[in-house]
């Protein structure tokens, strides 16, 4: 286990004790971000595959609302494919 991962897990353990709305929890989450991004793919996979058993709000997975949570609404029919829609009436000929 890398030092980053060990520290991340330790901070996470402290985070679970704090109320989600506690300013200290917010500061901890900020601190954890660079540690998370410093993990390698295998370490992230290990952390992603855990079982989280919780009670009440304390085990909510929080995501900060930001630009990456919102995008343009999908425009129905607004995208014109370079190749027009194909219409097959007989699968034998399509194959």
């Amino acid at each position: 286990m890398s030092g980053r991962m060990r520290i991340l897990l330790e901070l996470e353990r402290i985070l679970l004790v704090l109320d989600a709305e506690d300013p200290a929890a917010e500061a901890l989450r900020e601190l954890m971000d660079p540690l998370w991004y410093g993990l390698d793919d295998e370490e992230r996979r290990l952390l992603n595959d855990r079982a989280i058993s919780g009670y009440g709000d304390r085990h909510t997975i929080p995501f900060e609302l930001g630009a990456d949570l919102f995008g343009p609404a999908r425009d129905l029919g607004g995208t014109q494919a370079e190749v027009g829609p194909l219409e097959f009436g007989d699968w034998r000929s399509a194959a």
């Binding site: 992603n48 058993s53 009670y55 009440g56 995501f63 949570l69």
Partner: protein, 151 residues
Amino acid sequence: MTGEVARRVADEGLTVEIGGNRFVDCNTLISIGGQTLLRVEANPLRLSLTTPPDLPSGRRVSVVQNNLDSESGSVIVVTADSNVSIFWGKGASSPVSMVLATRLDAHRVHLKLDLRPLGILVYDDIDGLHVGGNALCGNTIRGATVAISLK
């Protein structure tokens, strides 16, 4: 099903599977700004999808326990015994699915989720449940009042 059996089934809880994640006995699956966005109830299968009024996309959905609000003019809800689906694009030639819920058994519901038609970057695929730039995969979240909170 007798009343006693029905009560026992209801008491044994519900697992909702999304993008390889399991949400066990979670009252609300996703909230946004403190307001419930997505909720699933079983026996009978019921979906609730309610967006806040100030989404950047300007689009709005209000489906509460499979019932469509009159203001959700572009939304289609299709219900069957073991499936409930919510689509965007009423009247369009090709409506797009946002939530496809299938009851696998009395305790398990599988959800296919894509809120991008609403401009919310939450969807699932073979890699997991994508929330913005994050992907959740292989997790079990148990007993959360709100499983995923967008705040």
